[in-house]
């Protein structure tokens, strides 16, 4: 059956595995961050190798930075500050986790995700006022030097801005493909009191004009104000279209997004499934590496797995219910 791989300290509230699944970062309610790993190659038993205080308040989210930039994590704390920590050896000092950068703003950071392309590392942060900021790393070997590249709100027509937006959560998912000629793009949705911000939109970088453009809105006309809990962009191993999962209060919808834009620069979209299962809030959605299976968790306390059959019909394949015995 299930195999235990690690034990977490009391007060752990969030965790994230690195790109190869060999290190786990776990954030705690007291603001400390633990890193679990194994010294043996190919081991599946992980123990804490470092623990340090990353924030004064509890950590609510932790994300690994792509491995091309070192062993580093970004942490979001309860008060909405974002910090970047890196494991490194400096001079003759022993290996330790060091604070590289701390971002403090009046509005809280709700989610942060990293996207890598040929030469640069981009960081997208979504804020509680409905704004999105894209930062770019200036020096590939130093994680302290970030430049703000763009700042915009998650709305499809850029004319209107919403000053008094108050967002509870946000979810960002980068396009996992990073081949040559692939422009950076990500999907973003909010859970807020401002309907226009909520629906998940796909943003793509336009290198000619150095700006981010919304290329698709993944919501049916009647659902555009729905609060979005989570978004997940599936790996594409050869499909002519992209698959994206969006969880809102109405359930989990699976979208197919075409690759060629129309005259307005918008991509064709099709909602192929609406799945219900977690009853209320969906906490997290993750695609497996082939993009064939979607795993989700939600406030019903279960893990659910979803797959499509030959006819293209999505269905729940299995569920896991945690039990203590």
């Amino acid at each position: 059956m299930e195999k235990p791989v690690a034990t977490l300290d009391r007060g752990t509230t969030c965790s994230a595995w690195n790109y190869c699944g060999e290190r786990l970062a776990a954030g705690s309610v007291d603001g400390s961050l633990s890193v679990l790993d194994s010294r043996d190659p190919s081991s599946s038993s992980f123990t804490c190798s470092s623990k340090f205080k990353a924030h004064e308040t509890g950590i609510v989210k932790v994300t690994w930075i792509p491995p091309e930039y070192g062993d580093a994590v970004a942490c979001i704390s309860e008060d909405g500050t974002l910090s970047i920590w890196e494991e490194l050896v400096e001079g003759t000092q022993p290996l330790l986790w060091k604070l590289c950068k701390s971002f403090k703003t009046s509005s809280k950071v709700l989610d942060v995700q990293f996207g890598v392309n040929q030469t640069s590392l981009k960081m997208v942060a979504a804020y509680s006022d409905g704004f999105v900021k894209v930062f770019e790393l200036l020096d590939p070997l130093e994680l302290n030097n970030w430049q703000l590249q763009a700042e915009f709100q998650n709305v499809i027509d850029s004319v209107s801005t919403f000053g008094k937006a108050s967002c509870l959560t946000a979810s960002i998912s980068w396009n996992p493909q990073r081949g040559e000629g692939q422009e950076s793009s990500f999907i973003l949705g909010f859970n807020s009191n401002t309907p226009q911000l909520n629906s998940s939109k796909m943003w793509e970088f336009d290198p000619a004009h150095q700006r981010w453009l919304p290329v698709a809105e993944l919501a049916l006309p009647g659902d555009k104000g729905d609060q979005v809990y989570s978004v997940a962009w599936a790996p594409n191993i050869g499909r002519p279209y992209e698959v994206i999962a969006v969880a809102s209060q109405k359930g989990i919808s699976i979208w197919h997004v075409g690759s060629t834009p129309d005259l307005d620069g918008r991509l064709s979209i099709e909602k192929v499934a609406l799945l219900s299962g977690h009853n209320s809030e969906v906490w997290q959605m993750e695609w497996d590496m082939s993009g064939m299976t979607l795993a989700t968790t939600g406030s019903d306390g279960r893990v659910r797995l979803w797959q499509s059959n030959l006819k293209g019909t999505w269905h729940e394949q299995a569920a896991f219910e945690p039990t203590s015995s």
Binding site: R39, D40, P41, S42, S43, S44, S45, V89, T92, P94, L95
Partner: protein, 361 residues
């Protein structure tokens, strides 16, 4: 992956293990009939590493030998390097781990092969990160260890002191990393590392390498690292090394910066037979091939060499001759050892959780 069968009539016996094999070494025999081997395992189901003493029984009635475990010892971490040496009264085993510790073990082969720990070094300053390679000096009283952290340590053990002490020979502070080591004489040893570089050290002249063999001799072609070094007791001036891209070369101290390439990358000669393009994990002088007329071979000629590779080749390479393939497996051969006392016997560890024992006739 080559699937061709070897041409020569050696007998091969395979022993599937249900565990990954990190290293294999013969142990010096205690009687004429028994052969013992030290094997480092990793059980991936239970995440437990072990070192076991196995007895290889070749039953004369059936031609099929058996491999039976005599005893087992649990190291704190997986084994990154394993060496054995003849010593009285018991053979000595040096085992280095990925967590940076070194263990000196002894096995009483006459009485059931129990493993006794002769001492452990696991303090923080010993190595930072894994120990990349160790080598035991003939007679088994000293062990040299190297790591990618750039440290070279000399561990001495006399008698059965459970506390090992070590001396730092050099610390390159990570600016240079070492991946292989081999004793050349009681006071000299050779290390190998990145860029096919080799360094000759002499304890009598501390402070740095006495002589360096420059890496990057392959001039712009793919460079690599040295995985294994061997030095023949009768040719101490020549250091044999195997590494990336099927490279096997010898460095003759007398011909300073010119390598003698036996196989693989970086050769201008088109005639060079390309045995394997993948990693050569281990090299050892083959004392079996033409062992009788070793004295006839000119001192500039490199003695026959056995290699094993990532693409599943176990072969004997001789300068200027076609290599002889002893095994061509669909999976990698990660390590092998030629039995010193009975060089017709070779033990190999295969990637797919099995051990092969080769008896050449």
């Amino acid at each position: 992956m080559a699937i061709s069968a070897p041409q020569n009539p050696s007998q091969v016996h395979r022993f599937p293990q249900f565990k990954y094999i990190d290293a294999v070494r013969w142990l010096p025999p205690v009687s004429a009939f028994d052969r013992f081997a030290a094997i480092a395992f990793f059980d991936s189901d239970s995440n437990s590493p072990s070192i076991e003493i196995h007895c290889v029984n070749s039953n004369l009635q059936s031609s099929f030998p058996t491999l039976t475990s005599q005893s087992s010892w649990a190291p704190p971490s997986r084994i990154s390097s394993l060496k054995t040496a003849h010593s009285t009264p018991q053979p000595v085993i040096a085992a280095a781990t990925f967590s940076g510790s070194l263990h000196i073990l002894a096995s009483d082969l006459i009485n059931g092969g129990m493993i006794e720990s002769g001492g452990t070094l696991s303090e923080l300053g010993f190595h930072s990160g894994p120990v990349a390679a160790v080598d035991l000096r003939e007679g088994g009283t000293e062990c040299v260890s190297v790591g990618e952290d750039g440290r070279i340590n000399l561990v001495s053990f006399v008698g059965d002191s459970s506390n090992l002490s070590y001396r730092r020979i050099f610390d390159a502070n990570g600016l240079v990393g070492y991946t292989a080591v081999k004793w050349a004489s009681p006071s000299e040893f050779v290390t190998g590392g990145y860029g096919f570089g080799l360094q000759w050290w002499d304890q009598r002249r501390p402070g740095g390498p006495v002589s360096q063999f420059k890496g990057n001799w392959c001039q712009g072609k793919t460079s690599g690292i040295v995985h294994s070094i061997d030095i023949h007791p009768s040719r101490k001036h020549t250091c044999l090394a195997g590494g990336s891209s099927g490279t096997v070369f010898a460095w003759d101290l007398r011909a300073q910066q010119q390598p003698i390439v036996l196989a693989g990358a970086g050769t201008g000669e088109a005639a060079m037979s390309l045995l394997s393009e993948s990693e050569v994990w281990e090299v050892q002088y083959d004392r079996y091939t033409r062992s009788s007329n070793i004295s006839n071979i000119s001192s500039t000629r490199i003695l026959p060499v056995m290699i094993c590779s990532e693409d599943g080749i176990l072969a004997v390479v001789e300068q200027g001759e076609e290599p002889i393939e002893l095994l061509a497996d669909p999976c990698a051969i990660n390590s092998f050892d030629i039995n010193q006392q009975n060089p017709s016997d070779v033990i190999c560890s295969l990637e797919w959780e099995s051990i092969a024992i080769l008896t050449r006739s």
